[in-house]
Symmetry: C5
Subunit: 358 residues, 5 copies
Amino acid sequence: MPSEIPVRTSLAQRRFGLPPGSIVNLCDKEPSYTRVSLVNYADHIYEELQVDDILSAIENRNPKTVTWVNIEGFKEVSQIEKLGEMLNIDKLVLEDILDHETRPKFEEYEHYSFTVMKMLYTDKETGVIFHEQVSFILSGNLLISFQMEYGDVFDKVRERLRKASGRIRSRKADYLMYALMDVAVDNYFVVLDAYDEQVQNLEDEILDNPEHSVISDIRQLRKDNIILRKASNPLKEALNTMLKSETRSFDSSTKKYLRELQEHVIQANEAIEMSRELSTGLMEIYLSALNTKMGNVNKALTVIATIFLPLTFITGIYGMNFHILPGSDNPLGFWILMAFMMLLFIGMLVYFRFKKWF
Amino acid sequence: MPSEIPVRTSLAQRRFGLPPGSIVNLCDKEPSYTRVSLVNYADHIYEELQVDDILSAIENRNPKTVTWVNIEGFKEVSQIEKLGEMLNIDKLVLEDILDHETRPKFEEYEHYSFTVMKMLYTDKETGVIFHEQVSFILSGNLLISFQMEYGDVFDKVRERLRKASGRIRSRKADYLMYALMDVAVDNYFVVLDAYDEQVQNLEDEILDNPEHSVISDIRQLRKDNIILRKASNPLKEALNTMLKSETRSFDSSTKKYLRELQEHVIQANEAIEMSRELSTGLMEIYLSALNTKMGNVNKALTVIATIFLPLTFITGIYGMNFHILPGSDNPLGFWILMAFMMLLFIGMLVYFRFKKWF
Amino acid sequence: MPSEIPVRTSLAQRRFGLPPGSIVNLCDKEPSYTRVSLVNYADHIYEELQVDDILSAIENRNPKTVTWVNIEGFKEVSQIEKLGEMLNIDKLVLEDILDHETRPKFEEYEHYSFTVMKMLYTDKETGVIFHEQVSFILSGNLLISFQMEYGDVFDKVRERLRKASGRIRSRKADYLMYALMDVAVDNYFVVLDAYDEQVQNLEDEILDNPEHSVISDIRQLRKDNIILRKASNPLKEALNTMLKSETRSFDSSTKKYLRELQEHVIQANEAIEMSRELSTGLMEIYLSALNTKMGNVNKALTVIATIFLPLTFITGIYGMNFHILPGSDNPLGFWILMAFMMLLFIGMLVYFRFKKWF
Amino acid sequence: MPSEIPVRTSLAQRRFGLPPGSIVNLCDKEPSYTRVSLVNYADHIYEELQVDDILSAIENRNPKTVTWVNIEGFKEVSQIEKLGEMLNIDKLVLEDILDHETRPKFEEYEHYSFTVMKMLYTDKETGVIFHEQVSFILSGNLLISFQMEYGDVFDKVRERLRKASGRIRSRKADYLMYALMDVAVDNYFVVLDAYDEQVQNLEDEILDNPEHSVISDIRQLRKDNIILRKASNPLKEALNTMLKSETRSFDSSTKKYLRELQEHVIQANEAIEMSRELSTGLMEIYLSALNTKMGNVNKALTVIATIFLPLTFITGIYGMNFHILPGSDNPLGFWILMAFMMLLFIGMLVYFRFKKWF
Amino acid sequence: MPSEIPVRTSLAQRRFGLPPGSIVNLCDKEPSYTRVSLVNYADHIYEELQVDDILSAIENRNPKTVTWVNIEGFKEVSQIEKLGEMLNIDKLVLEDILDHETRPKFEEYEHYSFTVMKMLYTDKETGVIFHEQVSFILSGNLLISFQMEYGDVFDKVRERLRKASGRIRSRKADYLMYALMDVAVDNYFVVLDAYDEQVQNLEDEILDNPEHSVISDIRQLRKDNIILRKASNPLKEALNTMLKSETRSFDSSTKKYLRELQEHVIQANEAIEMSRELSTGLMEIYLSALNTKMGNVNKALTVIATIFLPLTFITGIYGMNFHILPGSDNPLGFWILMAFMMLLFIGMLVYFRFKKWF
């Protein structure tokens, strides 16, 4: 089962000693592509295209529509750098976009705002939770979103944009950013559900049949919970900064939605905390199940010994080579003794049954 | 024993990807009814009716009386939506009303206020605690309460209204809302008592007879405590917001009661925390009871082995086929040895009795 | 050993559904009396009487002296109600006085102040800690104290009043209230000492002889600690409110004493926290003592088995029915073998002694 | 090993019921002396004397020099009381000086300031930590320090005063008080070092040879840590109050040193917290060492049983009294069987060796 | 494995009783050298030299360039003292520089600022983490850095200075200080990675083969984590003070970088907390692995006893010396019994296999 933690290792070593503001892809897996999609929309306009040259596409965008540029994978770091220069974006911001361990945060600059959050996924096969960084640059009616790898969570929003249903088409880029963040946070709950289900299943498994292997599973659940907390906890604070910002980045009408979003994040944080509590208790359950099992083994041993040691002792008595052994020449002696031992055997069985030892 | 947690699973998946403000019933069990009751009252007026058409009933209400509309079950979501439109209620508020996982909170809007809290119930048979969401829309002398399912807690208030006893009939809708919240919080203590009793009973059971099955019970108590905390903790904060609100939603005389209510909630929070502490200790008690039991089993084994291994060894000595075995031809040899072994047997019994091993 | 917790059960059920401000005795044990004592004093005046009719006694009090009315037991709830009406006391306050689970607090009203605190007692026989609610109504030079049951803690203050020693007789009713609270808080330390002694004794007992029964004792100590915390923690906050109050309830010279009192409460809170830490560690000690004991039992078993299994095997060898058994016809054979086995026996004893197994 | 905690018992009972401001020695050990030393110093003046009559010594002090009066042991409480009257010191302050459980604090009065802190000592033989209360009355260029018992920590400062080295002689009484507090806090680290060493030694001992007796030692370390925390934690707060005080008690140049002192206290608090963490882990280590040991005992038992039970069974087969026992009349039969059993024995030894069971 | 904690012992004893502001090297290992390197740089100037006489080198520095003096090892404490006098640095600051246990902090003085932080290293062989104190005096365009021992972390910055790449050469001394701190904090992540790897490796080792020796390793990891926290936690606060300082120490453009640095420190703190959580869980894993192992030993014992005790009993029956033993004279008797015992043997093996006991 792969662990999410060691990933940072190589990252730390690659970052170590770089001057601040270095525009280097610090993602540990070298992405093989940069995919850029661009969406232009207004109330009655909607166009969607895959672009190769981000710069010219952005430069030639329709200034009357909202433009959403989604960049997935950072193969061509130089292009990101040029984009930064064109839009006059701080180098430290670009560094944060490319560093996949940036804490969720919101920063406001003179002519744009910068937001970092995490997307969460559950690996379908192993159930391991991993996270992907998503960054947003919001500048007037232009929204640029950066995804480390391809993720399909945003498709839900794209769908709504295409259908022109709801209020999304009639609103500005700040609402679009909210909608994207909202769908990502909604997904936290899906991931959390899967997590809770794993906890529940593992609990059932431990109670049924405590195997040594569950320790790794419990351990993995703890690591997963750390991933969850790392994504969700700082986001609350970031949203707080957003809500307090007094600039033109957000319409007051959008802030209403952001407040709702923040409540969802608080709810997620609470739920994560509760799940953590339940997953922490699993080790205790395992230990107690283990103890119960060992107790049963010991009981079995004691039952066997308590039954057969006295019986063997009795046979030992009649196995002694005394010349005169009472009853040894009685033709029924053997059978009488056998009957006595049988009675003893049954008596002890009944006794242990009564004490519920087996 | 059914667990309360997994319920969220399907909810999260149903909510995931919906645009904000979607008026969809997210309750996991499809309710088969929407029941609406309407009460009009003033000092000398009291009328109570079941209505089918909420909208017209509200529109045609007596503007001089307090009107309380109680809606149970959300079969006809469209009606809720229309109600929202008629009273000009924000769509996000309607979404919160229908989502049964909304955190307890208080929000003030221009012409109405919105409150969410949880009702708690103990399942009579299993003792499992579950919660139901209750929301209030308070707008002038109109109070609309929304209950996910039918609950009989509000009957106590209805009774008081009918009897015209106490101050309730002479006061406004804000006092009515307080009275409903008060009766719900009073019920927290009833639920908490049942919970404490379960903890106490389980403790007694563990001390008497530690069975493996208690682990599930302990686990269930922890989950129940989480439910309790999720209902009670955020309510304190919500009441704080209420008390600080400076609008005309609440009479200053009602605020006195809200302060009292908040104190009860704080008291409930403390009591929940204490109960949690006690329920957390149960696992420890179980483990130690288990250990004690295993210790007794081991003692039994040791007693048996310590008694019979030496005795069997002695019989083994006289079972050896040496041609000359001292005393083997003495007619009393057998009886002397038997007496010696009996003495040994009794001596060891006395010794173990003295050491309190059985 | 009786537990203090379940008491609330019936209380919660009795309170549930009552309208706020209901003047009902919620104490679980129906008191059989209401005892009222009245003390009038000034610098050179001191009179003390038992009164039957509280109302007229208060109405006809000497307005130039400080009047202290102490009410114990609430048999005649109607009298309390009339008292409230006469002095114009809020119904919610009366409800709090009669509800024995009110959290310690201080509330200021227009013409009087209301204080709730807890008295703590240790049951002489069982060592169980229980608490009694004490409430104060302070209104000018009239102080009314309410005690659920008879308690002798206030006698110390009565003594000082009688003797006219110290500053107490020359000061106002606010100082009297402080003196009563001070003596109650001083008593916390006496109760806490008894608690610490119990912890220490239980610790010694566990180390000496870990019996299964100590679990109930440990459990009881935890419940006692909860009682302690519930009494002492909120009192700090209540005193804070007192100190911050800007009305004429307290002389500035009395505030100096209240500050000192608050420091004692903080000290009590810290000491309770420390005691809690020590009492929490008891379970660990018990478990380890249990483990040590089981380890000794296992050692005993192993010693016995290690000594007698090989010896029995040897006798088994010479018990085999081979026609030719080496040495079996040697007259000394038996004795040589016995000597060998004796040597083995002693050797193993020495070995285990050396390894400190017994 | 004596425990520090129960000391409070008698104290609480002696204090209980006393009127506030009672000037009574609450120290539990009746001191047999009051020793008073007086130091007068200025830049070029230094005199040091033992005085019997504090009052006249203080009254006749040189007003141009700094006067430091150090009072050790409180045999003559009446003298303290008179001192208080002469200097017009609040009775509550005198009560705090004589009560050896006062929390560390700083209080400012009109013409003097009052400081309480704790000195810590390690008992040389048992390693138990105990604390002694030190109080300071600072009033202009007069500093009075009160020590419960004789302690030699202040000698370091006396030495520096005598030598006229450093800045101490050229500064006021506030700096002297700082210097005394500084030397006491420096001593915390010495005590803490001894504590850490004890933790380390106990850890080594547990890992080497886990004896039941270590439980008392672990327990004592916890109690010691509580003593440490009780002394150091409130001091940080007290220094904060000092630093925020806006009166003439402290020169702004002295405040610089107080800030440095506060940092040392914070450092001490952190170190105490870390030591606590390490000492808490000791019980876990002990339990695991115990488990390991028990595991080895069980292994030994299993090895013995696994080797000798089958062998004894084999001898049992040939001990049966069948008339025809295969090989029993073969002259080599015995030796063949013996060789077979020897092979079995060696084989099992090798097997267990391979599995590292012994 | 050497422990980092006891180092403080001797330090505390050496410091105890020293007057404040004593310029004494409190480092526990007497350094054998003082190495001073000086770098002068501006946009187009770069010179780097080893100097012997710090004082004259600083005095004669080029006032138009940034001057960075790096002092490693404090053999000649007197030189540090003279340096302090020349630059008019507070004696308490010099004391802090030489005391290797100073908490990370930032202090601003009239004409210079003083910063303390920790460098972290992992011992290559033992994996033990140790820390080294680094202090900075920033005064206009002069930066003096003090290192307890030689560390190569700053080489990365020196390299960048030499290459004149990036913005570093064009900026002031405050940016240089930031760059040095940044490289040190980056190194925290490298150390933390090594730590996490150790935790992971130890976890794998425990799951594979739980040896008693892992306890020391777990213990060492805890101590390492304490070192990590002691270095990283206070730094966040120190950076906060830096960011809030309103003087000319830092350019507003440098503050942007400091904010970024602070975020890295917060990230480090979080990661340390997570690592702590995981390392705390190791003991639990060890205990459960131990229990599992013991359970297996007990199972083996029970299997052996359950198989051979009944078989031996059967042989005992036929070993009895009854004159008439059924079947004993049947030539096939022996073989029939042997076959029966073989069947029993196989049956029990199958049964235990089925129950997965071996």
